[in-house]
Amino acid sequence: MAEPIRIIVDKCVGCGLCIKVCAYDAVSLVDKMAVLNERCTVCGACVSACKYDAIVIERRPFKGQDVESYSGICIFAENRHGALSSVVYEIIGAARELKVSLDKKISAILLGEKVREMADELISYGVDEVWMMEDSAIGDFNEEIQADLVAKILLDKKPEIFLGGGTIIGRSLLPRVAARILTGLTADCTELSIDGDNKLLKQTRPAFGGNIMATILCDSHRPQMATVRHKVMKAAEPLEGPHEGQILELSYPVLKPRVEVLEFVPEEMDTVNLADADFIVSGGRGLKDPKNFSLIEGLAKAIGGAVGASRAAVDAGWIPYSHQVGQTGKTVNPTIYVACGISGAIQHLAGMKSSDIIVAINNDPSAPIFNVAHYGIVGSLFDVVPEMAKQIKG
């Protein structure tokens, strides 16, 4: 079988740029020439980095769907407990931007027990066609059933783009759909646009905990699928004036559920729902003692925000895991993120770096958190945090 990636001997000048960008230690210089070893995963980082076009990936893509027969932008209208998930408004915002370049209609797949009102709401936000299936057998937390329906609808309706939320449900449902209909799926995108030349969806996402960004295309398969990171794209506002939209009621057989919901246990919303919070105050090891989390809670309360934590604080048992922000915790995108006594380790940054405004409070001026902070106070959090709460409360 031919090597999928190779170095063009005549073009390589032995500059070593490829070695620097490879995260897998798969390139070395032999006689001033780049050589790939078996560690190579064909990720393509070196291809992007090479200034001499000396590394090429040769793909022989397996034949995808008949690309021409697919058209339009479809979104997944995730809903739960009788309401659309907040990420849906963000995806509509993204879809409306894409519509400007693509000039195709926006549709939405809406599944659930009582969803009719949501269909009207989707239309008021600019969705042109709602593909709705109302059935009490669908259930809120059964991705196997939902994926089966979504796949059938996509194969029947053939949109060229399908977007879902980068939520826990979205990131469980869409991979299943992609595996069913054999198309590409890009996870947790932070930017979407249409390529001017070939009208393909350019999907940009962070990888390696946000340290690198990758732009991904899916050219021979349809639909081009992506999940969209929550709270990065701007939520759409309802359209001004009435909008002509159609609701198509669909009916497909619903699979027999193999996974059954016993109960849903909500978490105390005001302190924990980090994914949705606009303001977050987080505490780390600098707090020294679990009882000092009350300072963080005090400030969070003063600004009407949620409480987050670094892994060090969680591992020390100062606060439950559900508060952890970072690579192994939650990814958050609030308007403002206040990090108190958190050093800013790369794994922590992975979860909060895309916050609109980052404020750091740390007594060590060289703490890495100050490299990403928009504002910072060098000082002891024991003085700064109560003072902030006091001044905010006025």
Binding site: E144, L182, G209, S220, R258, D276
Partner: protein, 274 residues
Amino acid sequence: MKIVVCIKQVPDTTNVRINPETNTLMREGVESIINPFDMYALEEGIRLKEKHGGTVIVLSMGPPQVESALRDALSLGVDEAILLSDRAFAGADTLATAYTLARGIKKVGKVDVILMGRQAIDGDTGQVGPGVAENLGLPHVTEIRMIEGIEDDGTIIVERLLEDGYVRLKSKLPIVLTVVKEINEPRLPSLKGKMAAKKAEIPSWNHEDIEFDLQRIGLTGSPTQVMKIFTPPKPSGGKIFEGDVQQAVTSLLAELREAGIPIGQQREEGSRNG
């Protein structure tokens, strides 16, 4: 009970630093480790076996050096390890990876529980678990924070983390589960385990050992293509206040309000809707 745990070898990003000048990854001295989430999957697999009996088989797709990750897994008390390795698998995206792993699991035979990590820390996608389930025609549940128990009649009860709480779910086996950190505390390898791991035979399967649709593996079977990889723009450096605390706080809040952040002004509004 037969349990398969899928693990991925990844670069240890804990040691990855960013070169502040070029804003690129500095990889010097970065080792390869088992994806941290997969350590929890391994631990949970071993615990299930300890409780219900049976075998735990660890499976990984990757280049030949992944064998070292499989030996690490064996040293924890896993019974068997299988490597899926072939140049033809290289360049697989999540679709092709899920297909390849599923074919490997199929060859293993009748399996009751397939455990995987919530996501791999290199790609951060979390797509492979649900993809494997679909390929095998099995149900799946992601973000498992607890396996409450498995009954003799082959039903499993799990707790799944959600953004706003958790759900308790019941399913028939076999099932694919992806786990979060909260689920357990992984053990350390024992001396005996390390010795056994050293001696263990690890079969390596390639595209000839398993029936693969050659159109669906590796780069060929991957619909997504990376068009460009770049480093995010360097942070421009923020405004830092020092000195008198009261003054610093006042200046900070003034800046925030100037930047249009309604800090402290929306307390009475209550929670946001939508």
